[in-house]
């Protein structure tokens, strides 16, 4: 059984131990090739409906 004092102390420790704020940008990488013919929307539409 955790005492109330201990619980309160744990709370304080957790509050004080969060990650420091120092952001760094991490952009998503391109992993999948864009299919070239889909750039041409009319063609894509034609392919989709035929």
């Amino acid at each position: 059984m955790v005492s109330e004092n201990k619980r309160a102390a744990v709370r304080r420790v957790i509050e004080q131990s969060g990650l420091p704020s120092a952001p760094l940008i991490m952009p998503d990488q391109v992993l999948v090739r864009e299919r070239a013919f889909l750039r041409f929307k009319p063609l894509a539409h034609w392919l989709a409906v035929r």
Partner: protein
Amino acid sequence: MVQARRLVSILFALVTAYAASLLGAGYFFADGAQWLDFVRVGLLAITTAWLAWGAVMGISGLFWGRGPHRAPRTRAPSVRTAVLVPIYNEDPVKTFSHVAAMVESLKALGVAHQFDFAILSDTTNPAIAEEEELWFARLKLEHGDGCGIFYRRRAVNTGKKSGNIADFIKTSGSLYEYLIILDADSLMEGATMVEMVHRMEDDPQLGLLQTLPKVIRARSFFGRAIQFSASYYSPVYSRGLAALQGDEGPFWGHNAITRTRAFAESCGLPPLPGKPPFGGHILSHDYVEAALLARNGWTVRVDPDLEGSYEEGPDNVLDYAKRDRRWCQGNLQHGRLLAAPGLKPWSRFVFVQGIMAYIAAPLWALFLIAAVIAPAMKIIPDYFPQPGMPVFPRVMQENAVALLTGVLGLLIGPKILIYIDAVLTRRNRAYGGDLRALQGVVTEILCSSVLAPIMMLFQTRAVLQVLSGIDGGWPAANREAGRVSLSEAWAASWWISVIGCITLGTAWQLAHDYIIYILLVAGPQILAPFLISLTSGGGRYARRGLFQTAEEANPTPVMTAQQAILARWRSEPEADLGPAQDTALRMGQILPN
């Protein structure tokens, strides 16, 4: 030089596959060629090429990549490094005892002020989360003086482990020059972590440096066989791997250091289009991150000479199969990335290797099926192709013997060569001497040979599940698994026994001549539940010195410290947090980070 090694190694695999195909064709076609014989030759060629590729890695490591052992540099680095410990529903007492031991190891060198530890929790179980907070507080109050230790728990584990690390980078990454990425069961000597930082400083183009973690703390017969194998063979195989991979080396997801900015600019992983298992978040992110770093011109390197890097492994076949299921899905998912723009050719080849690591199992299974049913489809030979004396087909028995010998040579040959090398270099002293090491080598070969037909079916099932769209997800590792009872083993592997019985029965009916060979495969499959349960125990063989490793005989300081901290914490789980608890309550601030 690396290109030349790659060429020689690939040629070796291709030539070996060609030789096996010729021998196989000579044997299969002796009584007339039919379509199933062509299938058998094709399967034989592919699987032999794969075996040969594995063998060349081991043989390469005996000749390439050796160098003098460099003592680690322990002067304080001039830059800050974050040590990341991603956790997911782990046992916090054990995990945090690892962190505590590593913190103390760094303090002993007087360098802890340049390292911060960040425990990144994705725990979803509320009871475990509460335990994490309790034990983190204890860790922080007992060991946080002089070394920053942070804790963050995400409400939603977007992107799983890779997302967890990305979240840290996006929150705090610009504070740190380097990141050491660990797993919950990782353990590293402080001196090793410092040396890793210095090696990164030595080469400004180095984006990621991977160590070769040794498996420790295995208890069961199965676990200790893996531990012995990792300790005895892996350094040689890794030297061979390093010699072939050059600057486009591997990342195994943990026990590695990366340059923060390189990783941040190169390794943001979006979810793949579509649904799991081939779409969604990338499961085996480490291989992809290595490929992306190489794509952006960073060097990725494995340094097998770096000691003091440890991890824990699965202690039974079922946990091994569970981990394998996750890796199988992750590796097959890489098929979506083979055409990713800008990747180096070797990176694409590494993806193919990873896929082949799991595709090989169903290919072997298909080969065995073909071998069993082929005799039933035999064409009755034409004994009188021309008038006159009969012509009997010549059974090319010598081809079959040569083929079998060759396959066994590829499987066992590198291990025997590694043993001989260990005798000549006196490396066996760390393993209890030449005789004890030989005992370990022979027992490991027998153990892996007996379990291989069982693993083949687990992996085949994993591949079929992934290909039919079943998402296995990311089950939490069971790092404290004990003995597997016979009933548990039966529940998990009864289907393997059934397949073994069917295979044996079919072979008895259709391929009586090959029954002895089929028994070598079907026998262990029929006995699967018994073997799984049996090998999950057997810890008593440790006391007799079987599978002894250097780390077992002489635990390193960080290993000893971790065990001591864990034993103390487990003996007093309900203890208050000590005098600092009152300080925490009064002042509202514990220790500055």
